[in-house]
């Protein structure tokens, strides 16, 4: 059976689908956040070197991972939009940007809060913190460019090109900053086993999954709003029950 992949690339069909999916993602995100925080604060033991302070990784690490990952997803949607000229792709990219920027900010913020007791300073110009800061600038550039173009189709395409250029640049920036200065502690989670205690791992991965589901739910809700505002002059929007009343 041939699946029509483009069926849900139309805002009309996707609007309804997104509406149905949001509650599932939102509820499971809330449950996983509760479980993750419980394991993180109650079950996981106190760290030998860092005391209670280390517990901030349960939000810091997932936020950092999401911030980088969401930029790549955003760039992928942007590329899709440029290649296939689908309206929804641009909408998805602009819906992802604020969530990505938010996670970047959370990552920087919690990093600073963690740095104060551990390194004795709020901010270190080390590779990862600096490239995370630059990532925030890239997100802000994307949002600013999109916001300053009135024609939404041109805005989508221009911002898409910027996102693609940015995604090519992210590894270059990362390595240049890394060679420039490295002080951050090495990666703890590697693909060949980890040095973490099992409850800490559980807490971290639960939180990561929760952040994932939260992002999906929020992005779907935001893309629904974008669809509503961009297609407000179409017939199908005006026939929606929630618009009619």
């Amino acid at each position: 059976m041939a699946i029509n992949w483009f069926k849900y690339s139309s805002p009309t069909t996707f609007y309804g689908l997104a509406g149905k999916m949001i509650p599932w993602f939102a509820v499971s995100a809330a449950i996983l956040f509760a479980i993750g925080l419980y394991i993180g604060f109650v079950v996981a033991p106190v760290d030998a070197q860092q005391g209670e302070f280390y517990r901030i990784i349960f939000i810091h690490v997932p936020a950092s991972m999401m911030s980088m990952f969401l930029y790549m997803v955003m760039a992928a949607y942007a590329a899709l939009g440029l290649v296939f000229n689908t309206r929804l792709s641009g909408m998805m990219a602009s819906a992802l940007a604020p969530t990505g920027a938010l996670f970047t900010l959370i990552s920087l913020w919690t990093g600073a809060l963690w740095g104060k007791p551990m390194w004795g300073t709020w901010w270190m110009w080390d590779a990862r913190m600096t490239s995370e800061l630059i990532l925030l600038f890239l997100y802000l550039g994307f949002i600013a460019l999109h916001a300053s173009i009135d024609d939404s189709r041109r805005a989508d395409r221009a911002a898409a090109l910027l996102a693609i250029v940015g995604s090519v640049n992210v590894p270059i920036i990362y390595f240049s900053v890394k060679w420039w200065n490295t002080l951050h502690q090495g990666a703890t989670i590697k693909f060949t086993g980890t040095s973490m205690q099992i409850a800490m791992q559980q807490a971290m991965f639960t939180m990561l999954l929760a952040c994932w589901l939260y992002s999906i739910a929020v992005v779907l809700a935001r893309v629904r709003s974008i669809i509503l505002s961009r297609e407000r002059n179409t017939v199908w929007i005006n026939e929606l029950p929630e618009v009619k009343q």
């Binding site: 630059i134 600038f137 890239l138 802000l140 550039g141 600013a144 460019l145 300053s148 173009i149 041109r154 395409r157 221009a158 090109l161 910027l162 250029v165 940015g166 090519v168 640049n169 270059i172 920036i173 240049s176 900053v177 060679w179 420039w180």
Partner: protein
């Protein structure tokens, strides 16, 4: 080869034509070129006034200050890269031309660098002396600027094309382009630091060269695409 009375020019001839045209236009409005240069000199001269005249510190700061000032100065002139041609309709004609738009764009980038980047490179030794830099680091700084400022013009052109005709384009342009220029800044200043501490500069300068080659290949294509998006 004559096709219907129209002489087909080679890509290289086209490139030279565009560069010459933009240089002539720039020479007719010399004030613009000088503004960029004066801005560069003023920004660099402000730093000793801000942080104090201690020579040891100034010597250490010099590469960073010169590079950041060059970065800001090149942002200043980027807005003009396409806007004049956009306003009088020349850009539209260029896009309709049978020749490759990327090549036209590359010509404009090179002309922009010759007008706004090259003067900065030529001015840098004098400013370096103000910061009490010795000959060897100064030489590396100049080589770095020579390799790096074209990259700034080329990456900047993408931003200039994307923000063409937007309100508040200038500030937005800096917001888009400056983060992308960070690697150039790092390797440019890193080379000077390496030579000052007795290390080899080869790695930093080769990376700058690699970035230059990468930009030469990709930025004209991306800029041409950005212009098409902005002009449709």
């Amino acid at each position: 080869m004559k096709v219907m009375g129209y002489k087909k020019s080679s890509l290289l001839q086209l490139l030279v034509l565009v560069i010459r045209r933009d240089l002539v236009l720039a020479m007719r409005r010399r004030a613009d070129v000088l503004t960029t240069l004066v801005f560069f000199v003023i920004v660099v001269s402000l730093f000793p006034l801000g942080v104090g005249p201690e020579l040891g510190m100034l010597r250490k700061m010099a590469p960073g200050v010169l590079w950041v000032a060059a970065l800001l100065a090149s942002m200043l002139s980027l807005g003009r890269l396409f806007s004049a041609d956009y306003q009088d309709g020349t850009l539209e004609q260029m896009m309709l031309a049978p020749q490759s738009l990327s090549m036209l764009v590359l010509g404009k980038m090179i002309a922009h660098w010759m007008v706004s980047g090259l003067p900065l490179v030529l001015m840098a030794p004098v400013l370096g002396l103000q910061f009490d830099m010795s000959a060897q680091p100064l030489g590396v700084l100049i080589i770095g600027l020579l390799l790096g400022t074209p990259i700034l013009s080329m990456i900047g052109a993408i931003g200039a094309a994307l923000t063409l005709g937007l309100r508040g384009g200038g500030v937005l342009l800096s917001l888009l382009v400056l983060p992308l220029c960070i690697p150039v800044l790092i390797f440019g200043t890193g080379a000077v630091e390496a030579i000052s501490s007795g290390l080899s500069v080869a790695s930093h300068l080769s990376l700058l060269g690699a970035l230059l080659v990468l930009s030469l290949v990709f930025t004209p294509l991306v800029t041409a695409q950005a212009l098409r998006i902005s002009m449709e």
